[in-house]
Amino acid sequence: MDKQNNDPKSAVHCESISKKYDEIEALKNINFSVNPGEIFGIIGPDGAGKTTLFRILTTLILADSGTASVDDFDVVNDYKEIRKQVGYMPGKFSLYQDLTVEENLNFFATVFNTTIEENYELIKDIYQQIEPFKNRRAGKLSGGMKQKLALSCALIHKPSVLFLDEPTTGVDPVSRKEFWGMLKSLKAQGITILVSTPYMDEASLCDRIALIQNGQFLKIDTPKNIVAQYENKLWAVQSDNMYKLLTDLRANELTNNCFAFGDKHHVSVSNEQLTMNSLKETLDRLEHTNIEIREIEPTIEDCFMQLSQK
């Protein structure tokens, strides 16, 4: 089948996709499109349906209903074409543990009828970091190195769309940061990237995101727009006794809800009666010391929690 010569109007398109495993509805009526060259994030916890969605789009499993296409190729009728041009990095490290770094890369290049040299420029920045270990078996690599190798193998055939299923799960913040740096460079090369992650802070690194929970999308938009649509005011509150503060803030009838966020508590406020001064006075009376209250912009995590509670 000949691919259209012009750019597809959407790199990925999903219409009414649903999938059930026995009684569990893994995906319920999913609709969305990804623009060419976008970094599109699918943000949600374990069990939300991220992996199922990726497996459908990379033609590994069939949806129960609905249609989907990647680069204008239908995931059912044109699955062979899709498999030639997507890159896929699944959630678990799934390269060959007993082959070396170089052997793995060669293997994938061969499977896609290409060579390491042909698209070396694309993977150079990533691969160079592990090249000194090219004779080490993949099974003996550290988590960060495994990631880099898996990414190199997914890129070796210069895919038009890259699917990364939880590439940073279980990985420390340093490696996570590095990894997202690499994705930004890939985007600059025109590759469309779909990445799923349970880490809400990574959402802000995407062009657009879909928040997913229990097989459904809660919202699809740019991170900025999602934050702008947060209902109510949000305050960050601190005191010398954070555990007691959490209990006291929750017991306060005028607050909507309160969640711990590291060294501060985020308090959602809609009641006009509650002002920062009146809250401070209340906390003073409850014997809190060094009280600090500031209005803040919500994070994606705040938004996710609000949306998932509706």
């Binding site: 374990d46 550290s142 960060g144 990985v171 913040p173 349970p198 929970q213 590291g262």
Partner: protein
């Protein structure tokens, strides 16, 4: 240090130059630290830093190549079975058996920890009531929502009232609300005097710990309260502290 009655019962972990070598490679390189009773102790480090190897030694699963350690009063080199009996453990990967019911899981783990049937019955009733799971007692674990599973797994891990519970990335991949509810459980346990030793990749969770250690290349590079660490490294949160200290060692 070999006689458990000689140790200070307020120190639930005492590690002295703990080392683990694999051939020439020092995965854990002479680490020394102490953890106090009732503390929430965060054990952080980049991938490959040696955290998992260190934890395995502390849980009695791996004999140190050098150095000594006491956990819950028992020597991790010579009394590994006693160590295992007196600690709790939970990780993201291993918690409860999905194809057993809630009640069956509790019975199974009670047996492993040597709790008598009579005691188990009483504790089980209280546990199910506290967690509001009485009506789910005969449900398969696999059918429970993740949040309930997590709560139950944690409660089972401390069912035998161990002095210390080891949590290996217990909240990995979990939704933000469930994650925080899990930390409520951790706080309650610490309040009751159970020491909590937890590893995590969520830096906001590092803030909830009384003290945090950060491993790098087999060594402990920093150990202090989150507040002091932020001052020491001129960072505004634990994420920044971590980025300043932890480098990938390949």
């Amino acid at each position: 240090m070999n006689n458990p009655t000689q140790h200070n019962s307020n120190k639930v972990i005492i590690a002295e130059n703990l080392t683990k070598k694999f051939g020439n490679f020092k995965a854990v390189d002479h680490i020394s630290f102490e953890v106090n009773r009732g503390e929430i102790f965060g054990f952080l480090g980049a991938n490959g830093a040696g955290k998992t190897t260190a934890m395995r030694m502390l849980c009695g699963l791996s004999i140190p190549s050098d150095g000594k350690g006491l956990v819950a009063g028992y020597d991790i080199g010579t009394q590994t079975e006693l160590v295992k009996k007196n600690i709790g453990y939970m990780s993201q990967k291993f918690s409860l058996y999905e194809d057993l019911t809630v009640a069956e899981n509790i019975r199974f783990f009670s047996g492993i920890y040597g709790i008598s049937p009579a005691e188990r019955k009483e504790k089980q009733e209280k546990l199910l009531k506290d967690l509001d799971l009485e009506s789910s007692k005969d449900s398969l674990i696999g059918s429970l929502p993740l949040g309930w599973k997590q709560k139950l797994a944690f409660s089972v891990a401390i069912f035998h009232d161990p002095k210390i519970v080891f949590l290996d990335e217990p909240t990995g991949g979990v939704d933000p609300i469930t994650r925080r509810k899990f930390w409520d459980l951790i706080y309650e346990a610490a309040d009751r005097g159970i020491t909590v030793f937890v590893t995590t990749h969520y830096m906001d969770e590092a803030e909830y710990c009384n003290r945090v250690s950060i491993m790098n290349a087999g060594r402990i590079e920093a150990l202090d309260t989150p507040e002091n660490l932020k001052k020491q490294f001129g960072a505004k949160n634990m994420d920044e502290v971590f980025l300043k200290i932890a480098r990938n060692v390949e």
